[in-house]
């Protein structure tokens, strides 16, 4: 496992990423819904090729953090820097184009479209095709379609899904749907990919495969991965830096070993011991 080095934001990032600009930096990020503070003072730095974990009990605000990072919610306070650029006042689509991709807790595939078309939609912004060539099917249409098909198949092949390319996405088994969501997210050529409970509903062998895949994603595409997960075995095995959230606040940051022994974390998960 990589050596983790502290950085100014009170986070740690892998030593290999230290001389590069971090992919994601958040500073005192917070959001209120009505009067309720859902996330507060969320400060985190993620290294360029880091696999980071975001854990916490149910309702801690983990998915809300993902929604903040992708601008689905506009933050009430604080800033998000994606690859050194602020994402304030950007739309979800613009933030996606800036290099952040995600999957969803409850799978959100384009279920009536074929598997390959799902990936092609992911490739959307890298396909060079004007409306005019789309309507006429001439003037570079064939070239751009062929290129996107090849790229999509290559990505699918990477996750051994190329055989399913022409199946309807909604008809895939559950595990494959989760994988397809990751492929679609990767197709947007992100700098960081956010996975929201990627192992939910998977059996141990599928989870093991998923862990390999996540490492493969980082090593092949040289991008950062940030994941929300309840499967502690997975988190402790593959994450380099872990951030623990409880009641919308960061209660601990550190390496898996540090987190495992942190009394605050144990308290958040198991409840406070009654004082005698």
């Amino acid at each position: 496992m990589a050596k983790m080095i502290p950085v100014p934001s009170n986070s740690i990032i892998p030593e290999r990423d230290l001389d590069k600009k971090p992919i994601l930096e958040t500073c005192h990020l917070g959001i209120d819904f009505g009067g309720l503070t859902a996330v507060d003072d969320f400060t985190l730095t993620v290294g360029r090729t880091e696999i980071a974990g975001l854990i916490g009990p149910n309702g801690a605000g983990k998915t809300t953090v993902f929604n903040l990072l992708t601008n689905v919610y506009q933050p009430t306070r604080g800033t998000i820097m994606l690859d050194g650029v602020s994402t304030a006042k950007k739309t979800v689509a613009q933030v996606s184009r800036m290099g952040i991709a995600r999957t969803f807790q409850n799978i959100r595939l384009f279920s009536n479209m074929s598997v390959i078309d799902n990936v092609k939609v992911g490739l959307h912004n890298s396909i060079d095709q004007s409306l005019f060539s789309a309507i006429t099917h001439c003037f570079g249409y064939r070239k751009s379609e062929k290129k996107s098909r090849e790229e999509a198949l290559e990505l699918l092949d990477f996750f051994s899904m190329a055989d399913w390319a022409d199946f309807q996405a909604g008809s895939l088994p559950y595990g494959a749907q989760r994988r397809l969501e990751i492929v679609r997210a990767l197709a947007t050529h992100p700098g960081i990919i956010l996975l929201d409970e990627p192992a939910a509903g998977m059996n141990p062998s599928e989870t093991a495969e998923l862990m390999d895949n996540i490492r493969k994603i980082r090593d092949t595409f040289h991008i950062a991965v940030m994941l929300i997960e309840h499967d502690m075995n997975l988190v402790m095995n593959i994450c380099e830096g872990i951030c623990v959230l409880d009641h919308g606040k960061v209660i601990a940051k550190g390496t898996p070993d540090e987190i495992k022994t942190n009394p605050k974390v144990i308290e958040a998960y198991l409840g406070k011991k009654k004082e005698a």
Binding site: T63, N67, V72, F104
Partner: protein, 293 residues
């Protein structure tokens, strides 16, 4: 003075829209469907009341009761035969079916009652009230319409808040499946909703035709569309919203007719609707819907 008399006729017309809109809004809130045939139920109600009065020489109040009973039965039958089998179908499929029912009612009325307009005699027994030496005349129909509207509004609010069935209706509109698990019979609840909506439609039909006494098989369709607009205007699914939307729509329509242009009054009504929806996308009193990510 014309301003006040316009205001009164606006409120009166609006009250009719409001009563019709209540039917739309209740059905939408509970069955999540746009019942396009609702406008035609109004027409049927008016015809039934007309026949009871003109051919059977029954007193107006009995005619209204008969019309209400007829429309209630019609509403339950339509729901049971045409909409119930499609409970889990796409909303568009239900919409088209409702359009089919609307065509059916219009053409059945055409066969039964013919295309010659019937002149509806007012159900209101007393004369118009003349105020300020005849400068301000309030028609008896307006007074009755507004009072009926207020009574219905209060009655419905109490019904949904206090009674068992009313609470069941609210539960079904929040979450059909959860309500079913709590032992509420969803099918019966929806039937009751249609029954109430259709009975209100009968009242609206009679009131509408008392004020505008020409009755043809398509009498219900334009008021139906406008009342639907009113329901959306106020926030579809909300009972006070339907009321507010209906009355505002009536006032806007009468005012634009008398101050701007008769031909363009409908365009103005719809333009105001669009403006409201752009500022408040779920209507004046509608709940904000947020999709959970």
């Amino acid at each position: 003075m014309t301003f006040i008399s316009n205001l009164i006729s606006g409120i009166s017309l609006g009250s009719v829209y409001a009563i019709i809109a209540l039917g739309y809004t209740m059905v939408y809130g509970i069955a999540k469907m746009l019942n396009f045939a609702h406008g035609d139920v109004i027409m049927v109600g008016a015809y039934v009341a007309f026949c009871s009065m003109a051919y059977l020489n029954l007193p107006p109040i009995v005619a209204i009761v008969i019309a209400m009973i007829a429309c209630t039965l019609l509403g339950i039958i339509i729901e049971g035969l045409a909409y119930r089998p499609l409970r889990k179908a796409s909303s568009l499929a239900v919409l088209i079916t409702a359009i089919g029912v609307s065509y059916f009612l219009q053409n059945a009325a055409l066969l039964i009652w013919g295309s010659t307009p019937k002149t509806f005699s007012s159900v209101v027994g007393f004369d118009s009230i003349s105020l300020l030496d005849g400068k301000l005349i309030i028609t008896a129909e307006s007074i009755v319409t507004v009072i009926a509207c207020i009574i219905i509004m209060i009655g419905l609010t109490l019904f949904t808040k206090k009674t068992r069935i009313g609470k069941g209706m609210r539960a079904v509109s929040e979450d059909k499946d959860a309500a079913e698990l709590m032992g509420i019979n969803v099918n019966v609840t929806i039937s009751i909703t249609f029954a109430i909506g259709s009975a209100l439609a009968a009242i609206a039909g009679v009131l509408l035709c008392s004020a505008y006494p020409i009755l043809i098989p398509t009498t219900g369709s334009m008021p139906g569309i406008k009342a639907f607009t009113a329901a959306v205007f106020g926030g579809i699914g909300s009972i006070p919203g339907a009321m507010l939307g209906g009355i505002l729509l009536g006032i806007i329509e009468i005012f634009s007719k008398s101050y701007i242009s008769t031909e363009l009054s409908d365009a103005i009504v719809f333009a105001v609707l669009i403006l409201v929806l752009l500022i408040k996308p779920t209507g004046l009193l509608g709940k904000k819907i947020t999709e959970k990510v």
